[in-house]
């Protein structure tokens, strides 16, 4: 009898030990899985919140035209994407934080933002300009940071270039001013990317950019600005997206806001995709202005000078209401003696006649 009891006691102890071990391992395993899922969820949430915060920074900056702001953000890599369909509609526009997969692909679809494709660091610089063509159409956001350098290449006197940067309130973005003859001596100072901007330089030739900036796969790029007859108000911008290849892509521009947009866009695709967001607004803005004319007093008999101007202006606004506006159609409006010039002239005349203006 005593022997049987002793054996039972001996089997009890190992049984308890094994049981505790198995239970403990299961218990720990459960908490390990729980903590891992919490950490992963927290990282995803962090990325989602940062992406949303950057969208909010840009969207809010659109409500403060001409204000330069510096926003502190999480130290990371910010990737700006924009895709446009053949019909001119923007299908995707977003900011992706690092390699995070949790971002809103359409977060910036209505927000024209002209920037490098990738911005690294813990600061974002933003500024907003109102684009007028010639009436206010949209607010354009330009974005960069302290790790991107804009090199203004000028010929002759650099005063015009300096004046332009001051006038547009862009000095905070970080510009170097280099004479075209001295460009060969410009050295890489360790910035993430460089954008060489030929500021109305006759015979501008981006092949003269030093070779250290032209390595294949670098994000450096160049823009050649050619002013039209009316100075910086309109002209042509030619993009050289890849300095190793130097293939030009040209667009007509109208208004310094559009010129700034070209200056800050890393390449022609960023510029044209974000301008597609803006072209979509031309039709609505012109419809509003045309409808506004109907609130003006009826024409007198015989019609006054102002009445005649209002009549022709209504026809000009109709020219903006074509479907699927793009650069080609817009270029037709900006031609010498074209619609935009006519509307500007009409508005000036109305001001001098002390009549209510068109826009």
């Amino acid at each position: 009898m005593a022997r049987r009891f002793r054996r039972r006691g001996q089997t009890d102890v190992p049984f308890h030990f094994i049981f505790a071990l198995v239970g403990g391992v299961l218990f720990l395993a459960f908490f390990f899985i729980l903590i891992r899922s919490v950490l992963t969820g927290s990282e995803d949430r962090d990325v989602r919140e940062t992406s949303y915060a950057v969208e909010t920074i840009i969207t809010t900056s659109l409500t403060n035209p001409d204000a330069f702001t510096i926003a502190e953000v999480k130290n990371d890599e910010y990737r700006f994407g924009c895709e446009v369909l053949p019909n001119g509609k923007v299908s995707e526009s977003y900011v992706q934080v690092g390699k995070g997969k949790d971002f809103d692909e359409k977060g910036l679809v209505y927000v024209p933002v002209f920037s490098p494709r990738v911005v690294k660091g813990d600061q974002l610089f933003t500024s907003t300009r109102t684009w007028e063509a010639p009436f206010p159409v949209a607010n354009l956001a330009v974005l960069s940071n302290n790790r991107t350098r804009y090199v203004i290449v000028y010929s002759g006197n650099n005063q015009k270039a300096h004046d332009y940067v001051e006038k547009e309130n862009l000095a905070g973005f970080g510009f170097d001013f280099v004479a075209s003859g001295n460009l060969a001596n410009y050295k890489d100072a360790g910035f993430d990317q460089y954008r060489f901007v030929y500021f109305n330089v006759k015979g501008a030739d981006p092949s003269s950019i030093p070779s250290e900036f032209k390595k294949t796969g670098s994000s450096n790029s160049a823009l050649v600005i050619s002013f039209g007859e009316k100075g910086d108000a309109s002209g042509t911008v030619t993009f050289y997206d890849d300095l190793a290849v130097l293939k030009p892509t040209s667009f007509s521009y109208y208004g310094t806001a559009m010129l700034d947009a070209a200056l800050f866009s890393q390449d022609s695709a960023v510029f044209s995709c974000n301008m597609a967001k803006v072209f979509g607004r031309l039709q609505t803005a012109s419809l509003i202005l045309k409808g506004r004319l109907t609130s003006y007093p009826r024409p007198s008999q015989p019609p006054t000078q102002c009445d005649l101007i209002y009549q022709s202006a209504s026809d000009y606004f109709d020219l903006y209401t074509v479907a699927n506006f793009d650069f080609k159609k817009f270029a037709a409006l900006t031609s010498s003696g074209g619609t935009i010039e006519s509307l500007e002239e009409s508005n000036r005349r109305l001001l001098s006649l002390q009549c209510p203006q068109l826009y």
């Binding site: 049981f19 218990f27 969820g41 403060n64 109102t130 159409v137 609505t284 509003i288 203006q357």
Partner: protein
């Protein structure tokens, strides 16, 4: 025999209590996560509501001309009236619906007739959902180009968001 039964019973009770504690812990954790997600959602909705109100004030197609000196909170009364008239045209309606989503924007001049600039209230149409309603009032100066005067008005900006069911 009875001693062993009691010991066995004790072991079982320990397991039951442990499992019970684990279940309590899981329930607390998921409740906490749900609570913080709801808070984040509500915070985002507040921000979206503020963003919408600010973006309406900053619409370039409604802004006063720079010559008026009206500043950033100035709206052209005739442009607003024109938008109120054309807001239901097919192209215009789609354009603003894509930008503003479910919202209603009304302009109330203090010395004039209220205007509805945009109206996409989902509640009469989508009866299957419950809707959060967030309303903001923001003041604006209204410029009348015919009399060249500035008067005061305010916008009622109402945003609708579907309630996330728990």
């Amino acid at each position: 025999m009875k001693k062993a039964q009691i010991q066995f019973g004790e072991t079982i009770m320990v397991v039951v209590i442990l499992v019970f504690l684990l279940v309590i812990g899981i329930v607390f954790y998921f409740n906490a996560t749900k609570g913080s997600l709801e808070k984040e959602f509500s915070y985002r909705e507040d921000i979206e509501s503020v963003k919408l109100a600010k973006s309406v004030l900053a619409l370039p197609e409604l802004s006063c001309g720079g010559f008026t000196g009206g500043g950033t909170t100035c709206m052209d009364a005739l442009k607003a009236s024109s938008l109120a008239t054309i807001k239901d045209r097919p192209g215009v309606r789609e354009y603003y619906r894509d930008r503003f989503g479910f919202a209603t924007i009304k302009l109330n001049p203090l010395d004039g007739v209220p205007l509805t600039l945009y109206d996409s209230d989902p509640r009469p149409v989508d009866l299957s959902k419950k809707w959060n309603v967030q309303a903001q009032r923001i003041f604006t100066t209204l410029y009348d180009p015919l009399t060249d005067t500035m008067t005061l008005g305010y916008l009622n900006v109402t945003r609708y968001s579907a309630v996330v069911s728990s």
